[in-house]
Symmetry: C2
């Protein structure tokens, strides 16, 4: 009976799922599309996976869409401990370094809840995403940047209003990374954004 019907690692996975659940209470700078409230990191992760699947034909050679989905599924779990860093917030190099260290500690703790082989596998996927070197990671990063732009657009500026963002800042902070993973996507998105920045005299 024993060993056939029980799996001693299930309790560890349960602990991991419950900790990961806290992403549903981590709120981001960008709103949900109707602007009625801020978006949490759990639902954000689902939504960008939908983008990743829908934009598969924009992915460059060598991108593994199934792996990109796994990356986006796992990429923000460290925010349970380390919180979200708004991309348009004023961030000093010191703060960025502290954030990076906090995320590594968070990865140690959170992936460490899992059975060892599984924790190592998840962590490797997260590290590949963070390094942004492989085609799949570059694509996943591009997707992660795309969705907030469209939400800001549909909410009359969203976090661009909060942080008084100019178009050239959007180009530098967001556009470069979207274009790196999805070269034909950025010109379209930029053309959609430009009128809003022009109307606010915020080039």
């Amino acid at each position: 009976f024993e060993g056939e019907d029980t799996d001693p690692t299930l309790a560890r996975r349960f602990a991991f799922w419950c900790e990961a659940d806290k992403l549903k209470s981590v709120y981001r700078a960008t709103p949900i599309a109707d602007g009625s409230r801020k978006e949490n990191t759990g639902e954000h992760s689902w939504h960008i996976m939908l983008y990743a699947l829908t934009l598969a034909d924009h992915a460059e050679a060598g991108v593994d869409i199934a792996l990109a989905l796994k990356m986006l599924l796992l990429h923000d779990i460290v925010e349970v401990d380390a919180g979200d860093t708004p991309i348009h917030g004023a961030v000093t190099p010191e703060a960025l370094k502290a954030q990076e260290e906090a995320e590594i500690k968070a990865a140690d703790r959170l992936f460490g809840l899992l059975p060892e082989d599984q924790g190592a596998m998840f962590r490797a996927i997260w590290e590949e995403f963070e390094a942004a070197e492989t085609p799949t990671a570059v694509y996943a990063k591009s997707i992660d940047r795309t969705q907030p732009v469209l939400h800001n657009l549909s909410d009359d500026g969203g976090s661009w209003r909060t942080y008084d963002v100019k178009l050239h800042q959007l180009d530098a902070r967001v556009g470069v990374k979207i274009a790196r993973g999805c070269p034909k996507l950025w010109p379209y998105i930029r053309s959609q954004c430009e009128p809003w920045f022009v109307s606010r005299n915020a080039l």
Copy 2:
């Protein structure tokens, strides 16, 4: 220039993503794990994908985990129009039939927003999930049933309290489907649940 840099289907995809975003405002009967509020369908979809990846070693022969992730990513999008049907709510055969019809209309509208080939592909994935016949669909259905049980457990009964659920009802409504996709998972989960039902004299 034209055709190189613009993609006429992007506006349709944008419309689809914005409609899908409304899942973040569809609230389910089960709470998030800390019991502080009800869970919405967007974040639920993310969370069960995490379960599906973490339980891959419990999947039976023939299950394609990448496809299971896609199923879970898309499986609840029809709720944007059709809403959520709590599994423990009193449901008549007439209401179930009406719900099914509402979901088919929702699938027509929502997947119809996408470029045709993409909409057809997404819809085929959703239909395979709904039919619950292929090993991958059976696995994905099992995962979809598993997470709410664990949230109810961690919230002193959660929606079992709301709907006055007995253990034999949990067996019939939930256990059978979990066991079908993950045979070794259900005995563990049931053993975790039993004390709560015993303590409430609700076998």
